[in-house]
Symmetry: C2
Subunit: 254 residues, 2 copies
Amino acid sequence: MNPTIELLKNHRSIRKFKRKDIEKEKLDLILETATKASTSGNMQAYSIIVTKDQKMKQSMFEAHFEQPMLHEAPVFLTFCADFNRMRKWLSQNKASMNFDNFMSFMIATLDAVLASQVAAIAAESLGLGLCYMGTTLASAHQLGEILECPKNVIPVAGYVLGYPDESPDARLRLPIEAIIHQEKYRDYNETEICEIHSQKNEEGMARFNHHPDLGDIDNLARVYSELKYTRESHLKYSNDLLGYLSRQNFMENA
Amino acid sequence: MNPTIELLKNHRSIRKFKRKDIEKEKLDLILETATKASTSGNMQAYSIIVTKDQKMKQSMFEAHFEQPMLHEAPVFLTFCADFNRMRKWLSQNKASMNFDNFMSFMIATLDAVLASQVAAIAAESLGLGLCYMGTTLASAHQLGEILECPKNVIPVAGYVLGYPDESPDARLRLPIEAIIHQEKYRDYNETEICEIHSQKNEEGMARFNHHPDLGDIDNLARVYSELKYTRESHLKYSNDLLGYLSRQNFMENA
C-alpha cells in the first residue's frame, strides 16, 4: 500500500481542533493543489472562499445550524459553483452567452466538489483534519448572501479545517459489494438490504443513544428519516435551493 | 512536498491507454478506497458501476458522444447518485420515507462525486490514468436506461480508466488569485477578467486550431460558448436532466 492509498483509507471526519492557526504557506499550498483538480473543459467553474475572521464565522453560524466546530476550527472553506467569472469573460470577448441554466449549475457543482476533495486530501497529507458540512447546501441561499455571491455563483460544499484535536475511530462503511455493480445496476432484494446494513445499525444507534429527541425511535433507519433528515426539512431545502438557483440565474429554460 | 501533494499537483487527464487490463486486486483496492470518502451522514448515497464488457461500452458509445477513449480504456466507472438502497432500507425498517426530492439528489450527487475523486487519486497513485467524461451528466437519462438504474438512481460522473499511453503536458490553469476569495466573494472588474485569462487564450486556441467547425471564431471565449458548449445544447441537457430527475423520483415538492 503506497502512502497516498494509506492516507485515503485512513480518512475520518475531524470535529475538534487545536487552537492553532494554519500556516499561510500550508494553506496556500492546499489551495494551489486544489486548482489542479479535474475540471470540465478546463473551465474551472468554481471559486473558493476562505473564512478565518471570527465575525464572519459568527454571521455564518446560524446558516451552519450553530455547529460549534465552525468556531473551533481556524479556517472554513466554502466551495462555490461559479459561472460568473466565465460569463464576464464571454461578455468581454463578445462571445455568445451561456451557463445560465441547470446543466451549467451541475457542471459547476461537479467542478467545485472535485476541487474540494483534492484540497481535503492535500490538507490531510499535511497533518490537517476536516469535516464537510452539508449545511452549506441546505443553507446555500443564506450563505450566498452572507458571502456576497453575485449571480451565477452558489455555495455547494464546505468544511471546517484545522489541526485535529481528536483521533476518532473510522466510521463503519457498507460492505464494498453494497456499493459496486458489475456492468449494470443490480437491484437489491430484501435479504440483501438486511445483510448490507446489519453491522451498521449498532454503530449508528450508539451515536444517537443520548439524543434528546430520540423518543420511541428504535432503529437507525428511523433515526435517519425521522430525526436526522426528515422529509419535511428536505422539501423545504429543495424549495429554497431551487428558488435560489432561479434567482441566481441558473434556471433559464429552452 | 510530500508524495501525495506531488501526485495531486501532477494530475492530467489521460485519453490514450495501453491495451492492458487493470489487475483485479488493483481495481478492487481502488474501489474499496473510494468507499472511505467523506459522505453526508455516513449514508453513502451513491453506487459505482464498473463497465469492462465491450458490448456494454458499445451500447454507451453514442451517449458518450462517440469518444474513442471509451473503447480504448479497459474500464469505465460510472458514479451514480443513489437513494434507492437507502429507501429500501427505510421501507424494511418501517421508517418514514424521504430522499425523493431535489435536496436528496444534490446530497447524493456530492457523495458520488467525492467518491469518484478519491477513486481517481487512488488509481493515479497506482500508475493508472483517467479522464472524466462530462457526457455522463449530459446523457444521464440514456445512461441510466442502459445501465438499468432504478428510481432514485442517477449517473452523475464517470471516467475512462487504464494504463496511460501518453504523457501530456499539464493544462494551464487560471492563476490562483482568480479562484480564491478572502472572507467574501470579491467580484472581478474588467481589467481583472482580462488579466486572469490572458495566458489561457493562446494555449486554449492551440487545441482548437484544426477543429472543422471553427469557422470565423477567433478567440477562446467564443470557442467555449459557440463551439464547445452552446447554450442551445445546455438548455436541451438541462431539460433532459430535470425531466429525468422527475421520472426518477427526485423532484417531489412540498
